[in-house]
C-alpha cells in the first residue's frame, strides 16, 4: 500500500559545538504511517524531532510538509501546521488539574467547562481514561502522559511525535497506548515514534529509520526483521549478552524491615512499610514506573534519609540512623539516578567527583586533609577499568557525555569493594555497548559476593541481571520473587496493572 506523503526530510544537518547531532538525514513519512526513529542514546533522534517540532533549527537541509516547504521557527508554528509532540519529560503543573494544564498549552483555550467536556470526549474516543478535574500531582506517570497526548489530540494533528513514550508505562498501559496509536493511524494521523525498544517497534511501526551517530544507517520494515537484527543495525556491532556467574547464595548482607519514610521531595512518594533482604552474591531487581518511590528508596538506603536504627541493617549492623559517610564505612555504597547534581557535581573534576563518595572506603583522607594524589590514582583506575572516554581525570564531569559519566560513576561505586551496592537506574541514557558493560560488572561484583540492589524502569535489564524481583508501587514494595519463571503478565500485575482504569469506568458511568 502506498500512502500519500506527509512529511519529507532531506539532507538535514545539525551540529553543536564539538558534536554533529545529525548529518545529512533524510526520510519520509506517509499519512497515517507509524514511523519509527530508532537509535541508541546520543544517535541524534531527539535533535531530529526537535527540528521537526520547531524547537531547533537545522544548519542545512530541507523539510516539506504535504509538498509545501516546512521550516517552523517555533513550536507554535509547527502546531498550527498540524505537528504535535509528546515529550519524554512532561511539562505539567502538579498543582493544577488536568483541564487547567491542557488549557495552559493552548493558544485560545475555550471556557473550562467546555474544555473539560472535550477532554472527556477525546479520552473516551481514544480509550485513554482520564478525569479532567483531577490534580496532576495525584496522577501516575502513565496518566500524566495521557494528559500530554490528549493535549495534542485536541489540536487534531496530522503528525504526532512521541519521544520514548513507554519508558514510564507498565506493560498493560503500553497496550492501551498502542491501541490508541493504531486507532489514530487508521484515522490518518501519522506517528513518528522514537524508541530504542525493538519489540515495541516491531509490533507497532510500519517503517523504521535507523540512526547511528547522527547518520541514517538503514531503513527497514520492522515486522520483517528480528529484534536482534535491528539492534545490530542500531549499534553497528554484534551484541554480547552478559554472562551469569554461578553464585552461592550467602548470608543476608542487607536487611530492610518495615521501613517507612515521608518523601523529602515535593509531590514525592512516601515509602510505606518496605521490607526485603538481599543475600551475599544476590542481585535484587526492583522494578516500577517512575515516581513510585524509587528516588526515596535510594535516599533511605544511601543514608540521605534516616530512620530508626534497626530498619536498615548492613551485614548485621543497624545503620538506619546513620548518614551516608557512616553507611559507606559499614559497607554500603549507593548510586543515585540523577548524574548531574546528585551522583556527581557537574562543575567539579573527575578527581573531585571520585573523592565525593570514595573518600571513606578508599582511605583518601588523613587528619581531615584530602589525599589528592591518591584520589587521582583512583580516578585513573576507574577511567581505565571502565573505558571512560575523557581527555583526562581533570576535566569537569559535565564535559563528559551521559554514558561516559555514568560509566565513571558506576566504576566509582563498584570499585570500592563494598559488601552492599544499591544502584538506581544503572544504564539510564547509556548506549547499548556501555550498558552491557555496566551490567556485566554488576554481575561480576555479585559473583564476588556483594549483595546488589538494582532499581530500574527497564524490565529487560532487570530480568537480565537479577536473581529476585520485586516491584515498587506507590511507595510499597511487593514481596521479592525469584526472577526465573516470571512472565511479563505477572510482572505487569505486580506493577499495579493499568493505572487509572477505574477512573475510566467512573467517567463512562
Amino acid at each position: 500500500m502506498t500512502r500519500p506523503e506527509l512529511l519529507r526530510v532531506e539532507g538535514i544537518t545539525k551540529a553543536y559545538p564539538g558534536v554533529v547531532a545529525n548529518s545529512d538525514v533524510s526520510f519520509s513519512i506517509g499519512e497515517g504511517e507509524v514511523h519509527a526513529l530508532l537509535g541508541e542514546n546520543g544517535a541524534g533522534k531527539s535533535t531530529m524531532v526537535k527540528m521537526i517540532y520547531g524547537l531547533v533549527r537545522p544548519d542545512s537541509g530541507t523539510m516539506t510538509l504535504r509538498g509545501a516547504a516546512y521550516q517552523p521557527s517555533k513550536p507554535a508554528e509547527a502546531r498550527r501546521l498540524g505537528v504535535a509532540m509528546v515529550f519524554q519529560h512532561f511539562s505539567l503543573f502538579e498543582a493544577l488539574n488536568v483541564a487547567e494544564n491542557v488549557a495552559l498549552g493552548m493558544e485560545n483555550p475555550p471556557p473550562m467547562r467546555e474544555l473539560a467536556a472535550r477532554i472527556r470526549a477525546v479520552s473516551e474516543e481514544y480509550g485513554l481514561p482520564l478525569d479532567p478535574s483531577r490534580m496532576v500531582g495525584d496522577l501516575s506517570a502513565g496518566e500524566r502522559q495521557r494528559v500530554e497526548i490528549i493535549r495534542c489530540l485536541l489540536q487534531d494533528p496530522k503528525l504526532l511525535i512521541m519521544d520514548e513514550p513507554t519508558s514510564v508505562l507498565t506493560p498493560q498501559e503500553v497496550e492501551i497506548l498502542f491501541k490508541t496509536l493504531r486507532q489514530l493511524s487508521r484515522e490518518g494521523t501519522a506517528i513518528l515514534y522514537i524508541s530504542h525498544k525493538l519489540e515495541e517497534i516491531r509490533s507497532l511501526c510500519d517503517e523504521a529509520t535507523i540512526l547511528r551517530r547522527g547518520k541514517v544507517v538503514a531503513t527497514c520494515t520492522p515486522r520483517e526483521r528480528t529484534a536482534r537484527e535491528m539492534a545490530e543495525l542500531m549499534v553497528g556491532t554484534s551484541l554480547k549478552t552478559p554472562e551469569r556467574r554461578v553464585a552461592e547464595k550467602g548470608e543476608v548482607a542487607l536487611g530492610v524491615s518495615d521501613l517507612s519514610a515521608a518523601s523529602p521531595i515535593p509531590f514525592g512518594t512516601s515509602l510505606k512499610g518496605i521490607s526485603f533482604t538481599v543475600a551475599k552474591g544476590e542481585v535484587l531487581g526492583i522494578a516500577g514506573v517512575a515516581g513510585n518511590g524509587q528516588d526515596e528508596l535510594l535516599l533511605a538506603l544511601s543514608g540521605e534519609l534516616r530512620a530508626a536504627p534497626d530498619k536498615v541493617r548492613v551485614v548485621g549492623q543497624p545503620v538506619g540512623d546513620l548518614g551516608p559517610v557512616e553507611r559507606r564505612r559499614a559497607g554500603l555504597v549507593a548510586a543515585p539516578e540523577d548524574r548531574y547534581g546528585h551522583a556527581a557535581a557537574p562543575d567539579m573534576s573527575l578527581v573531585e567527583n571520585a573523592f565525593l563518595t570514595a573518600g571513606v572506603r578508599k582511605g583518601l583522607t588523613k587528619n581531615g586533609f584530602v589525599d589528592w594524589a591518591g584520589t587521582r590514582r583512583f580516578a585513573e583506575e576507574i577511567i581505565a577499568a571502565y573505558d571512560v572516554r575523557t581527555p583526562g581525570p581533570d576535566v569537569a564531569a559535565r564535559a563528559l557525555s551521559g554514558g561516559n559519566l555514568q560509566k565513571f560513576l558506576m566504576g566509582r561505586e563498584l570499585m570500592q569493594g563494598a559488601s552492599v551496592i544499591v544502584i538506581n537506574q544503572p544504564t539510564w541514557g547509556v548506549d547499548a555497548a556501555a550498558a552491557a558493560q555496566i551490567r556485566q560488572s554488576i554481575l561480576d561484583r555479585a559473583g564476588e559476593g556483594a549483595a546488589v540492589v538494582v532499581i530500574s524502569q527497564d524490565l529487560d535489564e532487570l530480568l537480565e541481571v537479577s536473581d529476585s524481583f520485586a516491584v515498587l508501587n506507590e511507595g510499597r514494595l511487593t514481596k521479592p520473587r525469584p526472577t526465573e519463571g516470571l512472565t511479563m503478565d505477572e510482572i505487569g500485575l505486580m506493577m499495579g496493572g493499568a493505572h487509572g482504569m477505574e477512573v475510566a469506568h467512573h467517567a463512562e458511568a
Binding site: G18, H342, M348
Partner: protein, 359 residues
C-alpha cells in the same frame, strides 16, 4: 544577533581575565561619570589609581593602603568561604561592630592593668563577638529556615544601634568630658594594636589577614571541609549524598565569617580608629562583599582585590579632598566595579555566539 551559549567547561582564561577587564570597564564608565560632573576624567583616575602608590604623598598613602586592605581582606575571606558554600552572610558589618564592642569591652574592663595577655584575650573576645552575632542568622536559618541574607543584613542595623548606645553610654570615656566615644586605646599600651613597622601601616590585623588568606587557601584546596564547602555551593544534593549536613555547614561558615569580621573590628577599633565611637565603622563589612567577588572568592585573589579596593578608598579620599568630588561619586565608582565584575563574569561559563539566520 548575539546569543549566549554555555561553555562545555568553564573558561580558565576568563576566570583570570574577568577582574582586570572589570577594572578597565569601571575606569571607562567612571571616567564618563566624572566627565559628566565636569571633572577631568584622566586626572581623577590618576588620583585614584596612581597617586596613592607613586604620587607626591605616596610615602604616607602606601601605609594607608595596608591599613584599609587588612580588614577588607580579613572579612572578605570569611565571607568567601560562605559564598562558596551558597551561604550568604551579608551582615559582616554588624559582626564587625559587635566584635569591636565585645573585644573593646574586655580591654576597657581591666583598664588600666598592664599585662601582655590583655591584647590576645581581646582579639579572642572580638572574634567571639562577631561569631555570636553571626550565630543568630545561622541558628534561625537551621531551625526555622529563615533567610540568612535578610536576617544578617537587618542585624547590622541592630548592631549600629548598640554601637551608638555603647559610645554614648556604657563604654563612654569617663574622662572624656562628655564627648561620645570610649577611652582611646592609643593611651592604653596593653590593649593597643600599634603599627608594627613604622611607616608601613602594618598592624596585627594585616598580619592576621595575610595568615588567614594562606590558611583559607589550604582549607579550600587541601582539606575535606573545604571540599565540602565547594561541593555544597555547586551541587547541594551531591553534598548531601557525600554526607555533608547542610545545617552544620551553615553554622560553620557563618561562624568563621562572623569570627573573622569580629576580629577585624577589634583590630580596627584598637588600632587605626583608636576608640569605640558612634561611627568608627566605615562600611568595611559591606565593601568586603565586593572584595570577595573581585577576588573570585579565592583567598589569594582576595588579597589582591583587597589592595585594589583599598586603593579606591585612599585614592577616592584624595580625589574628594583635592578635586572636590563628592564621596557618593566614589561609592558609585566602587559599586560599578562589582557591577562590571558580575557582568563580565558571565563569560567564564558562557560565550557569545552570532546566531545566524535567527530573528
Amino acid at each position: 544577533m548575539l546569543r549566549l551559549e554555555k561553555r562545555p567547561t568553564p573558561s580558565r582564561f576568563w576566570l583570570y581575565a574577568t577582574p582586570p577587564v572589570a577594572v578597565i570597564l569601571t575606569m571607562i564608565a567612571g571616567g564618563i561619570l566624572f566627565a559628566a560632573m565636569g571633572k577631568n576624567p584622566f586626572e581623577v583616575i590618576r588620583t585614584i589609581f596612581w597617586d596613592p602608590v607613586f604620587g607626591e604623598f605616596a610615602f604616607y598613602l602606601r601605609g594607608q593602603l595596608l591599613v584599609k586592605a587588612g580588614p577588607l581582606i580579613l572579612i572578605a575571606i570569611g565571607l568567601a568561604l560562605g559564598f562558596r558554600a551558597g551561604i550568604w552572610n551579608i551582615g559582616a558589618e554588624g559582626q564587625y561592630i559587635m566584635g569591636a564592642i565585645i573585644g573593646a569591652s574586655v580591654g576597657l574592663a581591666v583598664f588600666p592593668t598592664e599585662n601582655r595577655l590583655i591584647f590576645p584575650v581581646m582579639v579572642i573576645a572580638g572574634a567571639f563577638g562577631g561569631w555570636a552575632w553571626a550565630m543568630i542568622p545561622a541558628i534561625l536559618k537551621t531551625r526555622f529556615n529563615t533567610n540568612e541574607i535578610l536576617v544578617s543584613l537587618m542585624l547590622v542595623y541592630v548592631a549600629q544601634t548598640i554601637l551608638a548606645k555603647a559610645s554614648t553610654g556604657f563604654l563612654k570615656n569617663p574622662e572624656g568630658m562628655g564627648f561620645p566615644g570610649s577611652r582611646n586605646f592609643s593611651s592604653y599600651p596593653a590593649a593597643q594594636n600599634a603599627e608594627l613597622i613604622a611607616g608601613t601601616g602594618l598592624h596585627w590585623g594585616g598580619v592576621a589577614a595575610l595568615v588567614t588568606a594562606v590558611l583559607a587557601w589550604i582549607l579550600l584546596t587541601r582539606h575535606q571541609a573545604g571540599f565540602q564547602i565547594r561541593l555544597a555551593g555547586q551541587a547541594p544534593r551531591a553534598a548531601r549524598f557525600h554526607g555533608v549536613s547542610p545545617a552544620r555547614l551553615v553554622v560553620l561558615c557563618m561562624g568563621i565569617s562572623g569570627a573573622l569580621a569580629g576580629m577585624a573590628g577589634l583590630f580596627e577599633v584598637t588600632g587605626p580608629a583608636g576608640q569605640i565611637s558612634i561611627d568608627f565603622n566605615t562600611g568595611y563589612g559591606f565593601t568586603a562583599i565586593i572584595v570577595a567577588f573581585l577576588g573570585r572568592l579565592n583567598p589569594l585573589g582576595i588579597v589582591l582585590a583587597g589592595f585594589l579596593m583599598a586603593l579606591t578608598y585612599v585614592g577616592g579620599e584624595m580625589a574628594a579632598t583635592n578635586l572636590g568630588l563628592p564621596a557618593a561619586a566614589i561609592q558609585v565608582f566602587q559599586g560599578m566595579l562589582l557591577f562590571f565584575l558580575l557582568a563580565v563574569d558571565v563569560l567564564t561559563n558562557y560565550r557569545f555566539r552570532l546566531a545566524v539566520g535567527a530573528h
